[in-house]
Amino acid sequence: MVLLSSHASATFVFGFGFRFEINLMFVLLGFVQLFFSYFKDLVGREVTVELKNDLAIRGTLHSVDQYLNIKLENTRVVDQDKYPHMLSVRNCFIRGSVVRYVQLPPEGVDVELLHDATRREARGG
């Protein structure tokens, strides 16, 4: 069993060859909530944000918003040889859509809590 996904458009493709376009704004409102809540609880901890352009920035999570835009404090660039211009910026705002990964502190991950929240959300959907 394999799932393929694409963000190209809000379209479901069916085996019969027809499409049905659905605006699911309300889905969005509910579903980004899990990670928004999770990151809010991580405020104050050290994380490493890796951007899609390969830049990796380590810093203290200052805040996060519903779009998963991330604000870091006391940041430093992980690969300083490659990105000398970014050396220790004080405050940093990162647009959510340019994030590839966030490396999380192990003490900030409660696996059971995450499983429960995910199941609850999945069951609702």
Binding site: L3, L4, F31, F35, L68, L104, H115, R119
Partner: protein
Amino acid sequence: MGSEEESAVKEPLDLIRLSLDERIYVKLRHDRELRGKLHAYDQHLNMILGDVEEIVTSVEIDDETYEEIVRTTRRTIPFLFVRGDGVILVSPPLRTA
């Protein structure tokens, strides 16, 4: 997990729900692959994975011989949030593996 309701597959994300707490394979844009234990996901395929191994494959052209050099780099990350918009494919663990 055991109840009939929970194991019913009604929509694609249900397939992923059944993989919670299991090791999954994730293919990302730009030749990145992840293997890790699925701890959380949402509708966008944002995920949190644990015990992650990442493999990045890059192809370079040798300046002199013009041969293709395929390079893979691996690293492990304890816990990783993965933004769903880079995800191309999610696969539960292979039963034969």
